[in-house]
Structure formats: structure tokens, C-alpha cells
């Protein structure tokens, strides 16, 4: 579902992502880890079409996102690292706007919003203007917007930021359901327990290069060499 082939991104002389290749298949949950500034968000922005790769290709559901942006984006649900919303729209209006951009029909949007509003327990405030939302409220609205059109591919940048424990639990459960339903998820996070709990495959990126990639089982073997903790393995890989 997601295929990065020798992707490089340069900003002037600085190489943010260096020749990265990876694949995420159906029903796979790929967690990408790395220190700050390693290139995780840049990789994600290339996958969503916000950045254009300097070289290499990004394929989503078999289509090159550079050559066929509309077709590729139709199957993506994206949760950005910072949940910016149109301040003057209410949460529900934002969801209608998002659904409309994904070419859903009006009846379907209404039905889906009602389902997700209930699921994410955001009914009490979703009709307020988003300028009054807290970070957690914004994050939940953006997550609902990403799930609205039942995407086959979910690309997530730091999903748990600002969420209270109950909301974080709901999000984790929903993401697990998505994977079981056959979606491919690519997630960047600094939360090691979240990776351990959710991901089926792990990649570690450092200075733009993919320095480690294996299944969760393979990572368990690797971490046993370093105190057996996730944290020690991560520190070893990124030192």
C-alpha cells in the first residue's frame, strides 16, 4: 500500500531524508522512530504530497503520488503533527469540509460524522468554533477527519500529543481496528510504549537514513541485547 523507493529530500545543501526505501503492506502497522530532526516528519510530508522528493518515488496504493496526486490522496488519511484547524469553522463544519474534499456524498458524510463523533466522544463540543478548542480537542477532531472517508492508508505524525488517557485509549483501539480491517498505517511517534503496543513493524531513522527496520519480533530480539528494554535499544540505535 505504501512504497518508498530510494527517496531523498534535500533543502539546499542539507539532506533531510537520504535514500530511504520501505514498504508497508495491507494490515501492517509501521512505526517509525528517531531523534528530533531525524527526518520522520519530512518523510511523512513526502508521503502525503506536502513535499516533493528531490529524488526517488513514493507510491500509495500502486500510484506515484507525484504523477497521480489526486488518485493517491483519495485513499490516504493524514493526521499531522500539529492539528491546525480553520479557526472560524466549528469542529463539525470542519468535518463536513474535509469530507467534501474527499468527494464523499453529503448523506454519507453526515452518517459517518455521527458515527465517529459518538465513537470519539466529542459530541459535547464539536459544534463550537475551533478557535476555542484545546490541543486535545483539536487532535481528536483531526483524527476523526482523517478517518471520515475510510482510508486504506493512514499516515500519522505523533497521534497522542495532547490527548488525555481516555482519548488516547480510544485512538489506540480505533487504530487497531483499522489495521484489522486491512488498512496500512505508517506512524511516527516518540512514545516507545505506543510503538510496542501497536506496531507490527518498526523502522528507526537517524540523520535522514533508515538505520534499522524489522518486525516487532525482530526488534524484540535486538532489544534483548541491550538490557531488554525498548528505551536502551532505541538509545543504542540513535547514538
Amino acid at each position: 500500500m505504501i512504497r518508498l523507493h530510494q527517496v531523498t529530500k534535500k533543502f539546499g545543501h542539507f539532506t533531510a531524508v537520504d535514500n530511504v526505501s520501505l514498504e508497508v503492506g495491507e494490515g501492517e502497522f509501521y512505526g517509525i522512530l528517531g531523534p528530533n530532526g531525524a527526518g520522520k516528519t519530512t518523510t511523512i510530508k513526502m508521503m502525503t504530497g506536502l513535499y516533493s522528493p528531490s529524488s526517488g518515488t513514493v507510491e500509495i496504493d500502486g500510484s506515484d503520488i507525484e504523477r497521480f496526486p489526486t488518485k493517491s490522496k483519495l485513499v490516504i488519511g493524514y493526521i499531522p503533527d500539529q492539528p491546525f484547524l480553520y479557526e472560524k469553522l466549528s469542529g463539525r463544519e470542519f468535518l463536513y469540509f474535509s469530507g467534501g474534499l474527499y468527494k464523499m456524498n453529503h448523506h454519507e458524510i453526515t452518517k459517518r460524522i455521527n458515527e465517529l463523533v459518538e465513537r470519539f466522544e466529542i459530541g459535547p463540543w464539536i459544534d463550537q468554533r475551533s478557535e476555542n478548542f484545546s490541543q486535545g480537542m483539536r487532535q481528536r477532531t483531526v483524527i476523526v477527519a482523517a478517518l471520515l472517508h475510510r482510508p486504506k492508508v493512514l499516515i500519522i505524525d505523533e497521534p497522542m500529543v495532547g490527548l488525555d488517557p481516555r482519548s488516547a485509549h480510544i485512538v489506540k483501539e480505533v487504530l487497531k481496528e483499522q489495521v484489522h480491517g486491512g488498512a496500512a498505517i505508517f506512524m511516527s511517534t516518540h512514545s516507545l510504549p505506543v510503538v510496542e503496543e501497536l506496531c507490527t513493524r518498526i523502522g528507526v531513522i537517524k540523520e535522514g537514513k533508515l538505520v534499522f527496520e524489522d518486525s516487532l519480533g525482530g526488534f524484540q530480539v535486538f532489544k534483548d541485547k541491550y538490557n531488554g528494554t525498548f528505551e536502551s535499544a532505541f538509545l543504542e540505535l540513535t547514538k
Binding site: 506536502l50 489526486t70 493517491s72 490522496k73 480553520y86 463536513y96 464523499m104
Partner: protein
């Protein structure tokens, strides 16, 4: 004082780093600015020089009357600076994340207030400095003034003059924001517009330029005498009058009189600045808190607009429908848009009210063409102002939220064109309304309103295209305040280009219009083809300008979104 110096130092560092980043967009902005601002400055200098020479040598109106006209112009200049500062100061004081940041630090509110005042004053007054200096050069060159005259006039007269205007604007804003919760934003805005209108009307009805000219003309040919006794008493309290007096006496070689007026200006400037600082110390924080309350209090949407709710089923294709509705609601719910809308609607109504009652018919063809073109130019100027204020910021105001449309399966071309076409319909409609009202006294000229319609539609295409394209090309996704975006350096550049376009339209249409009026007023020969070719030329220039600018703006959507 150390606190202010420390904050200013880091502000200047940030500004220098920002302005010296050599990206292609910045380079284009830099060179285009030099060409356009340079051209504009030269135009202002040349006009001032020629007008001075014409009035004093050809018309022989005399030095006194000339300086009284100068005083009236300075009054309008004073009000323009005042309104400009008032509008931009609202964004600088009450919508700035910088203020919110400093308020969490142990910084005295007075220091913060002064920093923001200086920031706002120089930011919003820079184009006025350019105009003032260019006109001064034109004025001084006629009188063969020395370089010290320019320096002294700029530093000791025009700078304090503009500072007084800026200080008064900020004092008014402090009062408005302090009591906005009690009085209500709508009443405040309405009251403010009425206040400016009243000031302008009272000034011109009391100074009465027509009466003054008649009174001075009675002394012909001794027009260079001093007729200060004809001035209304209240005029001697106005800073524009002090500058005019100072210049008058300087040019007559009486420096002691000139100095007394300069001193008066400096003292008044110091006193008003001190009053503003005291007011800032007392009211700034309280007014800031009020502004937060106003911004977070949700007003209800007008009921008649609910048919455009995003929750309603779409009437157009789904993506287009939600994009249009999103633009509409973002616009309607932004209070700063309403301040300008109110001012512009008021200006339009005043213009329509005035123009509908004026008989524009003139006996001479060239005079008729000139009178007609003045009205047409004003109509185009109004369209240019509206495009600058409401179309130019539309791409930048997407800001950090732009990620959603960009990651959605919408073609970027569609995203851009929908945004560009939305303002087109209301502006064309407005243009036609202006044409209708401004042609009521000219109905006897066959086809004249059709000519105006072609020019206005062409002008709208050019202005919307230019502002949308330039607004996208110079998009600043970090700055979400539409007022600051519309008053940025690149926005000013775009506006000057619009003015240049209007000059081109006038140059192209003047001769055929003179012929047209000559035919109907004096039965002179008239080539219909010449008029048609000229109109076609305007239409082609406008479409090329609008489309070219839009194409240039498209490049923003090909860049990485950062």
C-alpha cells in the same frame, strides 16, 4: 529603557535575518520594489514639481494660496496616516502572538506598548514617508532649496507631523478597545466611520477652499501677500497648518517665523507622545484583555446566510461547494474583515450618493473626457483597493490550515482557481453598480455605459488576477492577519502596479474618448473602430495581466508547503 533597548535589539536582529535571506522570491520582491517604488517616488516628485510650477507660474495663484492648498493636502495626508495606523495598530497590538508572548514575561506593559507602537508606526507609515519625501523634493526643487532644507523638513517637521497622527490613532484605538465590550463592536465601528466623515466634512466646510480662492483673488495681482486674517481661527491649532506656515515663511526667507511653527510642532509632538505613553500605561493591558474577550465571544451567524451552511447538501459539485462555503464562513466570521467592509461600504455609498447628484456634463470634448475619466479612475481605484484588501491576503490567510486541502484529493489547479473566481463575481457586480450610478447624468451619450462596463470588467479581471496571483506568489503562511498581509511590502508593491495599470488604461482610452465626446458635442469626425480597438487593447492588456499574475501565483502550489 534597557528593557526596551534589549527587545528592540532582538527585534532588529530577527528583521535583518528575515530580510536578508536570499531566496528567489525575495530577490524578485527586492528588484520589483526598487523599480515600482522608484517609479512611484519619481512620479510623486515630478507631479509635485510640475503642479507647483503650474500653480505659481502659469496660474499665478500666489504663495499664500499655494501654501493653503498644501495645508489642505497635508490634512488629508494626516487623516490617511491616522486611519492607516489605526487599522494596522489593531493587528499589531491585539492580534499579535508576540504580545501574548511578552505578556507572560516580566516585561513592563509600557515597554511592550512602546515597542509595538514603534513597530506599527514605522511598518504602516513607510509608504507615507516615501510619498512625503518625494513630494518635498518636488516642492524644494522648485524653490531651489538647499539639502539642509530637506533634512530639516523631514526630521523636524514631517516626522513629528506623522508621529502626532500615529499617536492619535493609537490613543483612539486604546479607548475603543477599552470600551468595546460595553458599547459593542458594531456600534464602535459605525461611530468611528461617522467620526472620520464628520472630521473631513467639518474641516472642508470651515476652511472652504472655494471661498478662500475668491477672497484672495480680490487682491489680484498682489497674490503673494500674507492673508492670514482669512484663515478660520480653529486652523491655527492644526499641525498641517503649522507645516504650511513654516514652509511659507521659509520660502519668504523669514526663518524666525518658520522656526516658531516648527518649534510648536515639536512641542505638540512631544506632548501628544507623552500623553499616549501615559494612556498606554493605564489602558493597554486592560484593552488587550478586552480584545481577547471580544475575539472569543461567539456572535451568531446572520440567519439569511444559513442556507450556505456546510451542513446543508451541496448545490454545486461537492469539492467546489465545500471550498466556496469554507471561504464564505471564514470571511464572515473574521471581525477584522468587518471593520474594512464597513469602511469600504460607507465610502462606496458616499461616492454613489455624491456622484448620483452631480451633473457630469461638460461643454468641451477634452474637458468632458477628463471629467469622465476622473470618475472612471475613481471607480477603478476603488476596485483596486478592494482587491488589495480582500483578494491579496486570501492565499496567505490559509496559513497553517492549508495542509488539509493540500493532502486532500483536490487538484491544486482547482483549489487555486476556485479561490480566484470567488471574489470575481461580487467585484464585477460592484463595478457595474458603480457604472450605473456614475452614468445617470450621462445617459444622453449613446453606448457610454457599455464602454465603461467593458473597462470595469477588464479592470476587475486585471485587479483580481494581479492581487490573487501576487498574493499567492508572495504568500506568507506564518502571518494570518489579513490586515497585516494587505499592508505588507509586497502588497504595497502590488497596489502600485495596480495604479500603474490604471494609468495605462487612461493613456489608452483618453484619445478615443475625446474623439467620441467631440463627435457628440461638436459633431467632429469620430472613428468607431479607433474606440473599439482601444477597448479591445484594454481588454487584452487586462486579461494578459490578470492571467499572467495568476499563472505566476500558481507556482506557490508547486512549492513545498512549509
Amino acid at each position: 529603557m534597557r528593557e526596551i533597548a534589549h527587545m528592540l535589539l532582538f527585534k532588529c536582529r530577527g528583521l535583518l535575518k528575515h530580510t536578508t535571506r536570499w531566496r528567489s522570491v525575495n530577490l524578485i520582491k527586492f528588484f520589483a520594489s526598487i523599480i515600482v517604488f522608484g517609479g512611484f517616488a519619481f512620479g510623486a516628485y515630478f507631479s509635485a514639481r510640475v503642479t507647483t510650477s503650474y500653480l505659481l507660474d502659469s496660474m499665478r495663484i500666489g504663495s499664500f494660496l499655494y501654501h493653503r492648498f498644501l495645508s489642505m493636502l497635508l490634512f488629508v495626508f494626516f487623516l490617511s496616516i491616522n486611519v492607516g495606523n489605526l487599522i494596522v495598530a489593531y493587528a499589531a497590538f491585539y492580534r499579535s502572538s508576540e504580545v501574548a508572548y511578552y505578556l507572560t514575561k516580566p516585561v513592563a506593559h509600557t515597554s511592550l506598548f512602546l515597542i509595538k507602537f514603534l513597530d506599527n508606526f514605522f511598518y504602516s507609515s513607510l509608504p507615507f514617508f516615501l510619498v512625503a519625501f518625494s513630494v518635498l523634493l518636488g516642492y524644494g526643487s522648485y524653490f531651489h532649496a538647499s539639502w539642509t532644507f530637506y533634512l530639516q523638513t523631514m526630521v523636524f517637521m514631517l516626522l513629528p507631523f506623522m508621529l502626532i497622527s500615529g499617536c492619535l490613532a493609537v490613543m483612539m484605538l486604546l479607548l475603543l478597545m477599552r470600551y468595546v465590550v460595553k458599547v459593542g463592536a458594531a456600534k464602535m465601528i459605525g461611530g468611528l466611520v461617522l467620526f472620520y466623515f464628520a472630521v473631513l466634512s467639518v474641516y472642508f466646510s470651515i476652511t472652504n477652499p472655494v471661498k478662500l480662492v475668491a477672497q484672495v483673488w480680490q487682491h489680484y495681482p498682489h497674490m503673494d501677500q500674507y492673508f492670514g486674517n482669512l484663515d478660520p481661527p480653529f486652523a491655527s491649532f492644526l499641525p498641517n497648518q503649522w507645516i504650511a506656515e513654516s514652509l511659507y515663511w521659509t520660502m519668504r526667507g523669514d526663518t524666525s517665523f518658520a522656526f516658531s511653527y516648527t518649534l510648536l510642532l515639536l512641542i505638540a509632538c512631544g506632548a501628544i507622545f507623552a500623553m499616549m505613553v501615559i494612556m498606554g500605561r493605564k489602558l493597554f493591558y486592560a484593552s488587550w484583555v478586552n480584545s481577547v474577550n471580544v475575539q472569543t465571544s461567539r456572535g451568531s451567524d446572520p440567519p439569511f446566510l444559513r442556507i450556505f451552511s456546510l451542513r446543508n447538501p451541496p448545490r454545486l459539485e461537492m469539492q467546489t461547494s465545500v471550498m466556496i462555503k469554507k471561504e464564505l464562513w471564514q470571511f464572515i466570521r473574521e471581525p477584522s474583515q468587518w471593520i474594512h467592509i464597513t469602511i469600504i461600504v460607507f465610502l462606496i455609498l458616499t461616492f454613489i450618493g455624491s456622484i448620483a447628484g452631480i451633473n457630469l456634463k461638460q461643454p468641451l470634448p477634452n474637458l468632458q473626457a477628463l471629467a469622465y475619466l476622473v470618475i472612471l479612475v475613481f471607480n477603478l481605484f476603488l476596485i483596486a483597493s478592494i482587491a488589495l484588501r480582500f483578494v491579496y491576503p486570501s492565499m496567505s490567510s490559509e496559513g497553517a490550515n492549508f495542509w488539509l486541502p493540500l493532502v486532500a484529493p483536490v487538484s491544486r489547479r482547482k483549489l487555486y482557481w476556485v479561490k480566484a473566481l470567488i471574489p470575481f463575481v461580487p467585484v464585477v457586480f460592484l463595478g457595474e453598480v458603480l457604472v450605473w450610478f456614475s452614468h445617470r447624468s450621462l445617459v444622453s451619450y449613446p453606448g457610454l455605459s457599455s464602454i465603461a462596463s467593458v473597462i470595469m470588467v477588464s479592470g476587475t479581471i486585471a485587479m483580481i488576477g494581479l492581487n490573487m496571483g501576487a498574493g499567492a506568489f508572495f504568500a506568507d503562511f506564518q502571518e494570518q492577519n489579513p490586515i497585516r498581509i494587505a499592508s505588507s511590502q509586497s502588497a504595497t508593491l502590488t497596489f502600485l502596479l495596480s495604479l500603474f495599470y490604471i494609468c495605462v488604461v487612461v493613456a489608452v482610452i483618453f484619445l478615443p474618448l475625446s474623439e467620441y465626446f467631440g463627435h457628440y458635442l461638436r459633431d467632429l469626425p469620430f472613428s468607431r473602430h479607433f474606440l473599439e480597438y482601444s477597448l479591445s487593447g484594454i481588454a487584452i492588456i487586462s486579461v494578459l495581466l490578470g492571467y499572467g499574475a495568476l499563472k505566476l501565483g500558481m507556482t506557490v502550489l508547486k512549492r513545498d508547503y512549509r
